[in-house]
């Protein structure tokens, strides 16, 4: 039987990979994918806790997180498309109007 700690460690690793990606990558779409990875790592944590506690609300939250992630994906892509139409790039180093 896999213990709770295994699930928590694997989701912590996934979360860290996502967080590191957000901090070090420079393409808006890839940063966005890393954020999705973070959310899904948390989903794994929630499912594991829910299973070991024998309690359902963790799984309910997972459903909502999936929905929220989809909504964020739609809004994020819409923003990226708007930027691309104006500037022909999605590289965040090229977006430098607001520095100070």
């Amino acid at each position: 039987m896999t213990s709770l700690a295994n699930y928590l460690i694997i989701s912590a690793i996934l979360f860290s990979i996502g967080a590191a990606g957000v901090l070090f990558r420079r393409n808006a779409i890839i940063i966005f994918m890393c954020i999705e990875l973070m959310l899904n790592a948390v989903n794994l944590t929630l499912i594991a806790f829910s299973q070991f506690l024998g309690e359902q609300s963790g799984q309910v939250l997972v459903f909502f997180v999936m929905t929220v992630a989809a909504a964020e994906a739609a809004v994020g892509l819409a923003i990226v498309i708007a930027i691309y139409r104006n500037k022909e790039t999605v590289h965040i180093d090229d977006l430098n109007l607001l520095k100070g």
Binding site: L4, L8, F15, G18, A19, V22, A28, I31, F32, I35, M38, L39, A41, V42, T45, L46, A48, F49, F52, L53, E55, S57, G58, V60, L61, F64, V65, V68, A71, E72, V75, G76, A78, I79, V80, A82, I83, N86, K87, I92, L95, L97, L98, K99, G100
Partner: protein
């Protein structure tokens, strides 16, 4: 399930339905009209009336432990709805000058207020999370609502990427708190933290619980732009449309504080908590508060553009409210509630005046543009002067009483050093607030012909005048607000 539950969340239902109605109106409307604005104002007022009715009703926890309905939630519902009405009124002229349709804008404002109300009344971590996301997603779109403008695009993308990054941390914190306490219900978490109910033996870990709380603090501190998580705030506020920045930096911030209070002083860190790390977390909150106050005010001194100055000072205001949260006592909660109401009035009308004065070609942001304003726009200059005095916390104005309660709370909690940091940073702040008044009244613009422009009485002017009048009334009779808040957590 009974129908009283629906009464308890009636303000939320009204706001959501109005939002949908405005959206539909916008979709079917052939010629742009003022109707969406009118509908928004009516909906916001309806939500305020419903919330006032709930203020006097007995406190309940509706839908089997999902929503609080008590004076606390009623109070915050009222101020969020009022903020929505104010910023809808302020933006009519602004959007018309820039040829934007007001329908989508109003619908997004209403949806974000739904999220805020959910945050202030969430009795369950799921509701808190959904409220935070409803608000944030609406904000991401609002920040980029000027699709054709590059600065608006950039602000939107920056806010979106950093905001969802912070959401990830907030959610991880929720997951860890859920796992170690075994419940998402805030009232049950409170009993567990007080030691009145057993912890789940299989999954409890003191380390993970502390880590969870820290992650939640990171997520919320980002949303309120407290010190180490503030980098997005000046850029986003400067890049997004001024009226939107005014709404995000006030209602958005205070909404995050309303759930900060529910999560920390209420659920996770109640007085006499038995959890081992509570003092350490209190210290973390206090340090965040102190750094935000000092950093925001010191950096604001050197700003030359008024929107950036207001953005940095909003970091400092977040610090003041965080000070109230970190006190973890009743005074702190009262202080945060008072300061939220006052701060919304002050900051929305400050951004409102900036939006009236700014030109649609992007000029009018520099502090230099305010030189001699008292000659050109005497009424606006007068209103802005009152707002600046109130923001600085000069006694007869409402800002002073908010700060007074917050600093009192810190002293009661035994954190005199924090109150001293607060007072020192307020003194620094008064420098740049008063500088605006000096520029407007005591400096002559040498190359300009001073012509007094008669003030047009439009919705923006009415909204600003109303907000300033409210500030004056609350400053002279603070007991109005304090008595209302006296019911909180009765």
């Amino acid at each position: 399930m009974n129908y009283n539950d629906f009464i308890a969340v009636l303000p939320l239902i009204i706001l959501a339905m109005t939002g949908l109605a405005v959206m539909m109106w916008d979709a079917f409307e052939k010629v742009p009209s003022r109707s969406p604005l009118l509908l928004t104002v009516v909906g916001g007022m309806g939500a305020i009336v419903a919330a006032v009715a709930n203020l006097t009703a007995a406190p309940v926890i509706a839908f089997g432990g999902l929503f609080f309905s008590n004076t606390y939630t009623g109070f915050f519902t009222i101020i969020f709805s009022a903020a929505a009405v104010l910023s809808a009124l302020l933006s009519e002229q602004f959007l018309k000058e820039r040829e934007m349709i007001i329908g989508e804008y109003c619908a997004l404002i209403l949806f974000s207020v739904c999220g805020m109300v959910m945050m202030a009344s969430g009795a369950n971590l799921i509701v808190t999370f959904l409220g935070l996301e409803t608000m944030s997603i609406a904000f991401y779109v609002l920040a980029g609502i000027f699709r054709k403008e590059e600065s608006s695009n950039e602000a939107s993308l920056k806010y979106f990427l950093l905001g969802s990054f912070a959401t990830g941390f907030f959610l991880y914190g929720i997951a860890l708190v859920y796992g170690t306490t075994g419940t998402m219900n805030l009232a049950e978490i409170r009993t567990i933290m007080l030691g009145l109910a057993p912890k789940p033996a299989a999954t409890y870990s003191s380390l993970l619980l502390t880590l969870g709380m820290l992650f939640i603090i990171v997520g919320l501190a980002f949303k309120v732009s407290a010190f180490p998580f503030h980098q997005w705030a000046p850029d986003v506020y400067e890049g997004s449309p001024t009226v939107v920045a005014g709404f995000m930096s006030t209602a958005g911030k205070t909404a995050a504080f309303s759930s900060f209070i529910l999560l920390f002083p209420y659920a996770l860190l109640p007085t006499a908590a038995v959890h081992l790390g509570s003092e350490k977390i209190q210290i973390v909150l206090a340090i965040l508060a102190a750094c935000s106050m000092l950093y925001g005010n010191i950096v604001a001194v050197s700003q030359t553009r008024i929107k950036r100055m207001l953005a940095y000072s909003s970091i400092a205001h977040a610090g003041y409210m965080l000070l109230g949260v970190s006190a973890l006592n009743e005074n702190g909660i009262t202080g945060v509630a008072i300061y939220s109401a006052v701060y919304i009035l002050m900051q929305i009308s400050a951004f409102g005046i900036v939006s009236v004065l700014e030109k649609s070609d992007g000029n009018g942001f520099e502090l230099e543009d305010y030189v001699g304003l008292s000659k050109r726009r005497p009424w606006l200059a007068f209103l802005l002067a009152i707002i600046m005095l109130s923001l600085a916390g000069i006694p007869p104005f409402a800002g002073f009483f908010g700060k007074y309660y917050l600093f009192l709370a810190a002293i009661n909690a035994g954190m005199v050093w924090l109150a001293i940091v607060g007072v020192v940073s307020s003194i620094i702040a008064s420098y740049f607030y008063l500088r605006v008044i000096v520029l407007m009244y005591f400096r002559q613009a040498n190359d300009q012909v001073e012509v007094s422009v008669p003030e047009k009485i439009n919705t923006s002017f009415v909204a600003i005048a109303f907000a300033v009048a409210a500030l004056l009334v609350l400053g002279i009779y603070p007991s109005l607000l304090i008595n209302t808040i006296g019911y909180l957590f009765r």
